[in-house]
Amino acid sequence: MKLIFNYNQSNTNHTPQENDVDLPEELKRGSLPLNDVNEIQIIRHYTELSRKNYGIDTNFYPLGSCTMKYNPRVNEDIAKLPGFSNIHPHTPANHAQGALEVIWELEEILKEITGMDAFSLQPAAGSQSELLGVMIAKKYFAEKNETRTKIIIPDSAHGTNPATAAMCKFQTVTIPTDKRGNMDIDEFKKAIGKDIAVVMITNPNTLGLYEENLSEIKNIAKENGALMYCDGANMNALLGISKPADQGFDMIHLNLHKTFSTPHGGGGPGGGSLGVKLFLEDYLPIPRIKKENEKFVFDSNKEKSVGKLHSFYGNFGIIVRALTYIKSWGVDIQKISQIAVLNANYLFCLLKDDFDVPYDRRCAHEFVISAKNFGEKSTINIAKRIIDYGFHAPTIYFPLIVKEALMIEPTETESKETLDEYAKVLKTIIKELQEEPELVKNAPHTTPGRLDEVKAARKLNLRWIPNES
């Protein structure tokens, strides 16, 4: 496909000329090599580009730990209502009661879903929610005059967890995973102590497995005065089924933009959230939203608060979508997780005889299999070959503890036919690996070429330079 710079229709004269603008000499640039392209050409160019895009609206997109579910159009209808989309962030609270009620109501619902006592929807993403959680832990222990310098994180955690710990100047203590795919409880017992501020656990973990020793972990953490933090990015497995507060957690973050649809933020901003137990409520960021005499008001009068995390109040558009999504499911919300877990187990069973299975347990919302028996680098080759069959690859080489990992999360919105088709494609590719290995090693064959991610990382080049292409 041509670049926009390669069109040459120089008869339109739409490019601004130097003498069109009255700028001081030093601000004028020497040249601006923009081509003149007429309007229909531009429309065709960008329409063609958009058709090359791959998204959840074009086909199956089973990225593990990304929860790439269908983004219901009713979310967009509601978010587009002028009362929501045109509201100015400086609108006084008494003229923005509807918007405030939306935020307040979603906080109430998330409290119910997680069992927590208070929620803030201010964080802009899962990672910022974690940051908030660990900032709260830091302040909490500082006020208790306790010096705790470390955070326990299992080696199956999302990479953001140790990054968050480092941002808040904590040291990470990594706990290995045991043979069943749980955090190794004996290693945990060795690591826990009065210097541990937080035990940070993803549940279900990134192997797609429910942590089986949570109640023992919680008891030991409590005995040592540490806080229990849940990375709730994988909450799509537990909606309406199990509450993280009951599992022993003091804090949890939820990604509004994945568990509650709009995966990857729908291309726009995402939304985080943090839920806490009562004893941590006062640390949540200001302003808080309060219901007072049937009216909703902002409350910034919180001395213990860690402060402000985001301009105004979070990413409001995602809050509207998440509330719409939850309300359209209503009391049936647990069906989301039941079907998500069923779909993951169904696809897992279709594939488990063809791949190495590092942890052979019933999975939650996602599962991890390994292509290590097909040789080194077979996972990247399989992933590239999937593209030729019109599908998106799963997450690969993560979690790091599984060699040649493929991490697959189908979500509840996929049909049995799609799952069957995906399994068939993977089985076909394995057959090709044995019969025609070169076909797989040089894939994809249906794209302009095979992207070289090593070269892309070593010699990153995102800028178009005239006369270079």
């Binding site: 790091l400 991610e453 090593v454 990382a457 070593r458």
Partner: protein, 126 residues
């Protein structure tokens, strides 16, 4: 040439005339996969044993490199800035990372011998 010493964190050291050369092991480079960049410590900065002194980015992960011995950084392998792949291709030679002037050279004695390190890696492979 003196014998190489090793750490549990997969660094190697070689003592040449009171200057210690440090790199990562063959096993480490293999586990990391294609290395795409390295963040060096400042020359003339000092580190304690087990401090993080450098960061290596590979296509798979970002990994800390620990200082295996107390001392001052007196040189870095600048070639790696342009050719980080040298760590993959030649981890024990052209892919060396830093030179350190040790402040407690005795610490070298407490590090792993080649045999001990090979045993450790053998266990990891299972």
């Amino acid at each position: 040439m003196t014998e190489k010493k090793f750490t549990k964190e997969h660094e190697w050291l070689e003592n040449r005339d009171q200057i210690v050369i440090v790199g990562i092991t063959e096993f480490a480079q293999d586990q990391l996969g294609d290395i795409v960049s390295i963040e060096f410590p400042q020359v003339a900065s000092s580190f304690k044993q087990n401090d993080v002194m450098a960061i290596i980015d590979s296509v798979k992960a970002s990994s800390d490199i620990y200082c295996p011995i107390d001392g001052e950084i007196i040189g870095i392998n600048e070639k790696l800035l342009e050719q980080p792949e040298l760590i993959n291709q030649s981890p024990y030679d052209e892919g060396w990372i830093v030179k350190i002037k040790p402040s407690s050279p005795d610490q070298l004695n407490s590090l792993l011998s080649k045999e001990q390190y090979d045993n450790l890696v053998g266990q990891n492979k299972e």
